[in-house]
Amino acid sequence: MDLFLARLFDGLGSGATYAALAMALVLIFKATTLINFAQGELALLGAYLVLVLGVEQGLPIVVAVFLAMVITAVFAAGLERVFIRPFDPSDHLPLVIVTLGLFLGINSVAGVIWGHGARDLPSMFPDGNLYSRGVANLSWVTVGNVATVLATAGALYLLLNKTKIGLAFRAVSSNLESSELVGINIGRTLQFGWALAAAVGTLGAALAILTLFLEPTVMLRVLIFAFAAAALGGLDSLGGAVVGGFVVGLVRSMGVGYLDFVPSELGVGAAVVVIIAVLLIRPTGLFGSEQVQRV
């Protein structure tokens, strides 16, 4: 029982970080049906900014995270303007290549600036555990991660459904031509999507770094699970991304825990299994909208 609880808490904690990054992926996918491979590296950049602001400059960690979110949002808006907007939004292959290029570019630059050594970030949550039972510890970090992700999902829901820019974002997601016909500036709305996704991704990275060490390849390990989470949730559903994140986190911790023949190094395989299973059994994911075209 203790072991089960330990795995449950572990899965929820890591699942929350997958959920945060999956939400960032979903935001871009909703708007452009594009998978942004650079999403994890934007988040990595955000995590290093937290390091600079919170550790080197000594700002309070919460302030550092907030500022890092703002800075990566502005940076992502600039990337969108320079590298994404010149391309035809309906032709995906060139755009995917561009995001792969951004992925490599940002990753290398981060390596040059901050080196490849592992760094540690201070926690924005209290140390210790909320609840302990044998080997099972529900740490404040886990509770904080889960609470932050749920609060972020709620905030995004309100932003998208109750504000004018949110309406524009959903309109652009639904139909580009109609959006222009009601006077929405598509370029600027997509830019807003990139900024928003980068901010959410940075928050996700700041949470993920609480249980991992910050080094230039760290987001790769989170990103593959975030992809699985987003695919499971349906790629265009924010709520689905959250549920998907927790499910993938649990599948990973339970899978590695209970399937003795799976070495923990193969935990990443859980993500691949989830992605393939979703694509085979239910390509629209759990909460994704089916692409229906009325003629």
């Binding site: 959903r170 309109a171 139909n175 016909l181 006077g183 909208s289 229906v292």
Partner: protein, 186 residues
């Protein structure tokens, strides 16, 4: 809108709009209902109407939504349904209401009868006439159904292979022997 290459001149209230960006033209008071309707399939009926008022900054958007739901009661019954789930006729009504939400001075309609049952088509055209009479909204309608279009329009142009073959008051064109034989079929 979004014409890639164009020559000549398009004037709106005497001002050149050729080459201007679509959102700017919408702000200048033009609403366009493209062939194939131009709604947002993944948005609810209410959100479609709100999106239609995107360029407006006044606080009467709610009132206008109520007003068009009164004109098209079916939109009120389906207010929370996704636009993509509506029938063809309902989608056309939504497209019209969505366009009117921007309070346009000029409404462009591209084959509003496309894919609709004759009865629905007639109903929608009657609504156009009512809106035109009540609001004074100018409407430019491209329509294959010549008799229906001519019965409601004031001025008409007959296009043949991209050239204006005939133009004049709709009532006169309707009675014109040549038009009747070629386009109205009697």
């Amino acid at each position: 809108m979004n014409i890639l290459t164009a020559q000549g001149s398009v004037l709106l209230d005497g001002k050149e709009i050729l080459g201007r960006k679509t959102p700017d033209i919408v702000r200048a008071g033009v609403a366009h209902i493209p062939q194939g309707r131009g709604t947002f399939p993944e948005l609810s009926v209410i959100d479609n109407l709100e999106a239609g008022a995107f360029v407006r900054r006044d606080d009467e958007v709610r009132d206008d939504i109520d007003r068009w739901i009164e004109v098209f009661p079916v939109l009120g019954q389906r207010r929370d349904q996704l636009a993509g789930q509506l029938s063809g006729g309902e989608q056309q009504m939504l497209a019209v209401a969505r366009a009117l939400m921007s309070r346009p001075g000029l409404l462009l309609l591209d084959e509003p009868s496309l894919g609709l049952a004759p009865l629905i088509t007639e109903q929608i055209f009657e609504t156009f006439a009512e809106i035109n009479a009540e609001q004074g909204t100018t409407m430019l309608v491209v329509e294959q159904n010549a008799s229906l279009a001519l019965s409601l329009a004031k001025t008409a142009y007959v296009l043949e292979a991209g050239e204006v073959a005939l133009s004049g008051l709709a009532d006169e064109l309707k009675d014109d022997e040549g038009v009747r034989r070629a386009y109205l079929g009697y």
